[in-house]
């Protein structure tokens, strides 16, 4: 009796076994989800997370490396005279040291200019860029910009694309006479847009209409849009023949009602999968456009633009380009994994989709 | 299972063949101890449901089992004196197509769409026979004519998609006999053909067999075909042969409950029934075979002994064997 009571009083904490943890890790895409959630949260609440104002220029601190980098000497651009012996004097450098630093032709008495790397510190975790702005803060705000731009374009593109797919698939019911032609027309349009090289068109549009944020959103929505109609239409064609749709028709429901109340829920799975797979591409395109200067305009931070900025300083300040690039890579990889997982889980038929 | 007394050695002798597949649910025993013999000029039918192991048996005989998940665990396949399982892969590919040939099920997909008919027919001839190039083409035309392809000379340049289903199946047949094999295996060759074409094709196969004296193995689930084409029948269930005998014996005196059930499920025109007979239950999962007779759960005559031990083969008549405890 006493033993039974003492059993009951034992702690209720359940520690998952290694086997159970492994099971969860294998079945669910934990890694990508964690990464994406962190990025979304950080981006959404950027002002809370960013240590500095991303636009704050601080010239004396420019080109500071990330916190783990140690440097040899102080952060300055120094002109030094080559001397025979090494000297305590800051303005002098020994011949041997000069040669070691790569000035193989130097002779005593020459003046050489050394760019000396500043040291990293915890005040700027990711270092600073060429005008002294904190890279981490810009990175965080860049995430926010990408997030916003992608979310808006994806949503608008999704709405339009899905609507088009729904209408195309169900057209012959809505418009008994022209339905089939409408369907074909819509599909033709989609096909044509597939053949268009996006970046090129984007550049032309930018020239004609100028570099505005709205244009960027519209462009990205356009890119996001054309992934949906084809597959949504296919789904509609299948669902059209199911019994509950027939029942609804018999009960006198209007075509639109059938479409949005009955058919649409069946399409959601496919849409989710396509959307996830598309987001990665959208981010890449946004990055490329920003890189080329046609996307988000400076001084607003955007990952692609940061990489473009960093390009000139690769030798000295590689971190300016590295971190945003890593950011893009991480996001796209996570989205890819997540998208693949969703596709396998929700709609394996989409496996042909590339 | 042993054959009847024979005066000459059988052309093909399969002994205790076991082919297992490693899957994530366990080890699937697709073929679990199959033995039979085939004599010269004889046609053996192998019947069974899908999943009974008949196709895997055939693939094992040709050694076309994909080796990572599958493997031939045990057994011997003796063709014309040599054990096929002991041969190296390159030796085996010399045997395939020349001594033992295959006609597979679906004519739509068995021919390579990017090569012409002529290319595919001559390929087998070129590989196995050492004859000059000019003769290769003649041989190909000859064999195409034998399978009754009209206007063979012009057809030989056509591509598979330009031929009808029936003609494609005949081309597959032509490829099969092109090197005069000792044994021709036909795996449900008529399933995807129209009924009228089926009859023509079967007649063609019979004629070819009579002319060349080759032995045939017919894998099917259709008893009508068995009745028309086969001399002997082996009935397979869950990876094992449960009954074997001549066609007459099997039809008139089925001695295994499964055979009886199969025959009963074939609707007969003369009878007037309210419900079609279907065997109750499901075949067992091949990775989780029960101890004892695999048919026990569905057998109307099941006894306790059936669930304890797998029955050996019992002789019913000469050349007729059945693995059922009722015959003990």
């Amino acid at each position: 009796m006493a033993e039974v009571t003492s059993n009951l009083r034992r702690s209720r904490l359940v520690v998952p076994s290694w086997g159970q943890i492994g099971y969860v890790l294998r079945r669910w895409p934990v890694g990508p989800i964690v990464i994406l959630v962190i990025l979304i949260v950080v981006g959404a609440f950027a002002p809370l997370f960013a240590p500095y104002d991303p636009l704050l220029i601080d010239l004396p601190a420019r080109n500071t490396p990330p916190f783990w980098v140690e440097a040899e000497t102080e952060p300055r651009l120094v002109a030094q005279r080559v001397d025979k012996l090494s000297s305590e004097d800051r303005d002098k450098i020994s011949l041997r040291d000069a040669r070691k630093k790569g000035f193989t032709e130097a002779e005593v008495g020459d003046t050489i200019v050394l760019t000396v790397r500043p040291v990293g510190s915890f005040s700027h975790l990711f270092g600073t860029d060429q005008t002294g702005r904190d890279v981490l803060s810009r990175w965080i705000f860049g995430a926010r910009v990408s997030l916003m731009v992608t979310a808006v374009s994806l949503t608008s593109g999704l709405v339009i694309g899905v609507a088009m797919g729904l209408i195309a698939g169900y057209a012959d019911q809505i418009f008994p006479k022209y339905g089939k032609h409408l369907d074909e027309l819509i599909m033709r349009i989609v096909e044509i847009t597939f053949a268009i090289p996006t970046i090129l068109v984007a550049l032309v549009i930018v020239i004609v209409f100028g570099k505005s944020f709205f244009i960027l959103l519209a462009l990205l929505a356009f890119v996001a849009w054309n992934a949906f109609p084809r597959n949504v239409r296919a789904e509609v064609l299948t669902l059209k023949t199911s019994d509950y749709v027939a029942l609804a028709k018999i009960s006198g429901a209007s075509s639109f009602r059938i479409l949005f109340v009955h058919i649409f829920p069946g399409v959601i799975n496919t849409v989710l999968v396509i959307a996830t797979l598309r987001v990665g591409q959208l981010i890449l395109i946004e990055a490329i456009l920003s890189f080329l200067g046609a996307g988000v305009q400076p001084p607003k931070p955007a990952w692609g633009a940061m990489v473009a900025d960093g390009r000139e300083y690769l030798g000295d300040a590689w971190w300016i380009a590295m971190f945003p690039g890593m950011g893009i890579f991480l996001v796209v990889v996570s989205l890819n994994f997540l998208g693949d997982w969703m596709r396998d889980r929700f709609d394996p038929r989409l496996r042909q989709l590339d | 299972m042993a054959a009847a007394d024979t005066s000459e050695a059988p052309v093909l002798k399969v002994e205790n063949l076991r082919t297992y597949f490693r899957t994530r649910w366990g080890e699937v025993k697709a073929v679990d101890g199959v033995s039979f013999e085939l004599r010269k000029g004889e046609t053996l039918g192998i019947v069974g449901e899908s999943g009974s192991g008949k196709s895997v048996t055939m693939l094992s005989m040709m050694r076309l089992i994909p080796m990572p998940p599958g493997r031939i665990v045990e057994g011997s396949i003796t063709l014309d004196g040599e054990d096929l399982l002991q041969l190296s892969e390159s030796e085996m590919s010399k045997v395939r197509g020349s001594k033992i040939a295959l006609i597979i099920q679906d004519p739509m997909t068995s021919l390579n769409p990017v090569f012409s008919i002529g290319n595919q027919v001559t390929e087998a001839i070129r590989i196995h026979q050492d004859i000059p190039k000019r003769s290769v083409m003649e041989k190909a035309l000859e064999v195409l004519r034998k399978v009754n392809i009209p206007a063979a000379e012009s057809r030989i340049r056509d591509y598979p998609h330009q031929l009808s289903g029936g003609m494609r199946q005949r081309v597959v047949g032509a490829i099969g006999i092109s090197c005069q094999p000792l044994v021709l295996i036909a795996d449900e060759p008529t399933t995807s053909l129209d009924v009228t074409i089926q009859a023509q094709y079967l007649k063609l196969l019979r004629d070819l067999q009579q002319e060349s004296g080759m032995s045939m193995i017919f894998i099917t689930h259709d008893f009508g075909i068995v009745a028309k084409m086969c001399d002997r029948v082996a009935v397979m269930y869950a990876g094992k042969i449960v009954e074997v005998g001549s066609v007459r014996d099997i039809f008139n005196k089925p001695s295994h409950p499964y055979t009886e059930a199969l025959l009963a499920s074939v609707p007969k025109m003369e009878e007037d029934v309210d419900r079609l007979y279907a065997i109750e239950g499901q075949p067992p999962l091949l990775h989780d075979l029960p101890v004892g007779c695999s048919f026990a759960d569905r057998c109307p005559y099941v006894m306790d002994r059936c669930r304890e031990e797998y029955p050996p083969e019992f002789p019913v008549d000469e050349g007729h064997y059945s693995a059922c405890w009722r015959l003990a």
Binding site: I199, I288, L314 | A101, I104, P113, E123, V172
Partner: protein
Amino acid sequence: MSRFIIRRISYMLVTMMVATLLVFSLSRIVGDPRLLYVQEGGYGLSPEAWDALGIKLHLDKPVAVQYLYWLKDAVRGDLGDSMLDRKPVVEIMYDATGATLQLAFFGWMFATLVGIPLGVLSAVKRGSVWDYMGRGVALLGQTLPVFWVGIMGILVFSVQLGWLPVGTRPEEFSLKHYIMPAITLGWFSAAGYLRLTRSAMLDVMDSEYVKLARAKGVNATMVLWKHAFRNAIIAPLTFSSLVLAGFITGAIVTETVFSWPGLGRLAFTAVDDNDFPVMVGLMLLFTFMFLIVNLFTDILYAYVDPRIRYG
């Protein structure tokens, strides 16, 4: 077969016409097209120059007639002058085309020589080290942004290791200079080829006719190359036209990263400087190149797959 070719060519011409129409209407959408010829934040044009430009563009005539004039000039090779250099657009493009074509060629070589064999290996030796490598390459190819590959390449191979020169096309031909730009350009497409080839091979190897070929006694290597590969290659071939379309996009970025004096960088500078005539010329040129490649691929496809030829 020749009917097929003629049909494709006429289709191409029609599309080209549509493209010119689109390009032209773009320039007229914003109202007075002369606005496009004025550099943003630049000096503008004097009233005389403004009027002269109006006459040159035939702005007094109806739009359709303007289109015809423009088309006539375009066909004769006159696409106007670049706003930046005052040099004829056609000349500028001509100078840049060679560089881009060479880069595209090497990029394509890389993509096919890496993508297709790895795809085949990955399919044939499933589960082996090749398979994982192949799938890794495919993943990286899809997710690493083009410019980042280039920049990282420069960082690692030029700056840190000093093995390769930092792009920019040299006067004389030097293979070393092509390596990084070609890899950067072809990287994404290599991944595409890999995935396509791999899945095509997997499909084909499971097919009935491959089984029959084996049953015939054809030895394993020949089954692989003669039967399987010949069928599997059809899909990647069609992909080539998409690849080259992707190269148009990719070239813009790659050439910018590597300061490669080609059409891509031309596009980039045109956007930067708001040089509309150059942009128009580039659009037409790119469309034309894209259509030609499509034509080639279609013909090649018909040759390889008899079902298209006689179907």
